[in-house]
């Protein structure tokens, strides 16, 4: 398993100081220094330990159900005149890619001797994935969730509670994902010794962006192997994924980042339109700034207050983006597109009717941009289907056609 490959010669992966070009770092208050420094020092060493790796692999196989299939979507391919493969993260236990990371981090937390787990969640997918692994390991679990999101995502709140987690409403600020993240960080400040914070995306202070990307890199590792088996070549022409904070995209891109013949396509949420005032297209609307202890592209007012984004999908509703993605954007290594709420809904219906797969709204953003690529016959496109649509049924029913 090569989630621990040496990336020190890469132009795009994290450097020794925790930066991706100008982005990244660890802008943490001193109260978090011992915890974050411990992680920085030990994460790679722990991940490289054969016993750790075999425990991780075993759980991914027997508990999560990996490898997830790489499925040649025939009718979708016909429509676009190319070969489109879907990486079926929606078939994982708990219904999304999020569990790859929570399995990895809970094993790491145990290695560090932690007794208590905290997490933030927006749509509830990461919260459910965290509550799940805490139940599995018999650890205490506290999930922070914006009080607005608690209203919007009742089924996931119920799942977390059924799994034994405590769900704490974040009532500060805009009461959504960024505020849940603030509250989780504050909890960590108040409980520095016994608690590990399982961040759900490739955001936060170094080493989180790299650590989470590596746990998620099972996705690109499998894609390369599966594609080789199916086509004889491990590199497709395109890999595509949606980006909020960017964890499924980081996992989908990871082993392709230095393969310059593979085009990386990141799809952000344009909401009601990039310039409508209701958007989460950070690469278009953001400037360099610091959010959740990381220097990255950030949606903010002129005087540096963080702005609340909008997307129909709660999982893409984040005002920043992981520093890896900010760097891929700035260097031009990845192409950033954006899909509106309406385009995502349409793509969700398209995939449902053509392939019998109801995608998560987040993943539908990636599908929606197939039409914007200038594809040539014979090309191979891999799209990460990061999650399934069960959690979005209420939204889909509202727009049923």
């Amino acid at each position: 398993m090569d989630i621990t490959i040496d990336t020190s010669h890469s132009k795009y992966h994290v450097n020794k100081k925790g930066y991706y070009g100008h982005f990244g770092g660890a802008y943490i208050p001193e109260m978090l220094y011992p915890n974050v420094a411990e992680l920085q020092e030990k994460y790679l060493e722990i991940m490289r330990d054969p016993a750790f790796l075999s425990a991780f692999e075993q759980l991914l196989k027997d508990y999560v159900g990996r490898p997830s299939p790489l499925y040649l979507a025939k009718r979708l391919s016909e429509k676009y005149g190319v070969d489109i493969y879907l990486k079926r993260e929606d078939l994982n236990h708990t219904g999304a890619h999020k569990i790859n990371n929570t399995i990895g981090q809970i094993l790491l937390a145990k290695r560090l001797g932690k007794k208590r787990i905290i997490a933030e969640t927006g749509a509830g997918q990461h919260g459910v994935a965290t509550a799940t692994v805490c139940a599995l390991m018999g650890m205490e679990c506290v999930v922070y969730m914006g009080s607005v999101d608690i209203q919007r995502q009742a089924p996931n709140v119920a799942r977390m509670k059924m799994l034994g987690a405590t769900v704490v409403p974040a009532t500060s600020g805009s009461k959504t994902l960024k505020d849940a993240t603030n509250e989780a960080i504050r909890d960590w400040i108040n409980n520095p010794v016994d608690t590990h914070y399982i961040i759900g995306s490739v955001v936060g202070p170094h080493p989180y962006p790299d650590m989470v990307a590596r746990f998620q890199s099972v996705i690109s590792e499998e894609i390369r192997r599966q594609l080789k088996e199916k086509t004889g070549k491990s590199n497709p022409d395109y890999v595509m994924a949606c980006v909020g904070g960017g964890s499924n995209a980081a996992g989908t891109f990871f082993h392709f980042v230095d393969e310059e013949d593979v085009r990386l396509i990141a799809v952000e949420a344009a909401g009601k339109g990039v310039h409508s005032g209701y958007s989460a297209a950070t690469s278009q609307l953001g400037r360099m700034g610091v959010i959740h202890a990381s220097k990255t592209l950030l949606m903010q007012t002129e005087d540096g207050q963080i702005v609340e984004p909008h997307s129909i999908s709660a999982g893409l509703d984040y005002p920043g983006v992981g520093p890896l993605h900010a760097h891929l954007f700035e260097t031009g290594r990845a192409t950033f597109l954006s899909a509106t709420d309406d385009e995502a809904l349409e793509a969700a219906y398209e995939l449902s009717r053509l392939e019998g797969i109801i995608p998560a709204l987040e993943s539908a953003h990636a599908i929606a941009k197939l039409k914007d690529l200038s594809l040539q016959p014979g090309q191979v496109v891999v799209v990460c289907l990061s999650g399934r649509g069960d959690k979005d049924m209420e939204t889909y029913i509202k727009h049923l056609k």
């Binding site: 770092g25 660890a26 802008y27 943490i28 208050p29 001193e30 109260m31 220094y33 011992p34 500060s172 600020g173 960024k178 505020d179 603030n182 960080i185 504050r186 400040i189 108040n190 409980n191 520095p192 010794v193 400037r287 360099m288 700034g289 610091v290 959010i291 959740h292 202890a293 950030l298 903010q300 002129e302 005087d303 540096g304 207050q305 963080i306």
Partner: protein, 256 residues
């Protein structure tokens, strides 16, 4: 000489530093509060530059920040309010805030404005030591701005030494592992305070977080040069009908 250094030279113990959020409770209360604090006998003022996402702060200071931003407070407005304030205020004033608004304002421009208006020091809890040393130290030094670092009960002795060597003005000792405004019991912290005291740092030490009344102030002063009160003060003035009287009474109770 920087007013902070002057203060500790003149008065080595029982320094009372009061935090308030600029632009709170009303936009134009900032200067009234600073002046009244001076009249009432506070020794130093820490003025908060409100930020939408203040990670190290508890709900009281976050709510005051949200209100201040809604009132129209921003860094440029604060510098406007502070123009000429040194004609009436002599106590040291430290600005406290988060890195992002300062980055967006422009770090050098920010320091220049601080020097022009008469700001003595700066606390940015999310500007880590390495970044400060490599990128910002020279700029702050150029404008005579003292950069003040935090230490916590979990900070190792080696790191405290390093922080002390980089700090100017004073070292801000966080009383317990917490965000601001938590009513944690201070008795458990005496060993930590004593450990800090025994290290004989080159900088004076002020203790903050959880200091809220005379008892906690005195407990902190027993092992340091003084203490910082934030959330308790913000709470006291939040709904005050007579700001000056409330401030006067608040300071008197601490100093009594």
């Amino acid at each position: 000489m920087n007013r902070i250094d002057q203060l500790f030279r003149d008065k080595p113990g029982h320094i009372l530093n009061i935090y308030c959020t600029a632009g709170f409770p009303a936009l134009n209360d900032t200067l009234t509060i600073v002046e009244t604090l001076q009249k009432s006998g506070a020794d130093m003022v820490e003025l908060g530059m409100p930020f939408s996402d203040p990670l190290a702060d508890g709900p009281v200071i976050q709510d005051s920040s949200t209100r201040a931003i809604a009132n129209g407070m921003r860094i440029s407005v604060l510098f406007e309010q502070l123009k000429g304030f040194r004609e009436r205020v002599s106590l040291p004033v430290v600005l406290m805030g988060y890195l992002n608004p300062v980055l967006q304002f422009g770090v050098e421009e920010f320091c220049k404005k601080c020097a022009e208006t008469g700001i003595d020091g700066l606390i940015l809890p999310d500007l880590p030591m390495d970044e400060y040393e490599n990128e910002y130290r020279q700029i702050f030094d150029k404008y005579g701005l003292h950069f003040i670092f935090l230490v916590t009960p979990e900070t190792s002795e080696a790191r405290i030494r390093k922080i002390d060597s980089l700090s100017k003005g004073f070292v801000y000792a966080v009383s317990s592992s917490s965000t601001t405004g938590k009513d944690k019991d201070m008795s458990g912290q005496q060993a930590y305070f004593a450990r800090l005291q025994a290290m004989k740092l080159k900088n004076p030490v002020l203790i903050g977080f959880g200091i809220r009344d005379k008892a906690t102030f005195e407990a902190a002063c027993a092992h340091s040069n003084g203490a910082i009160i934030g959330s308790a003060f913000v709470k006291a003035i939040e709904n005050s009908a007579n700001l000056q009287q409330t401030i006067q009474e608040f300071v008197e109770k601490i100093k009594a």
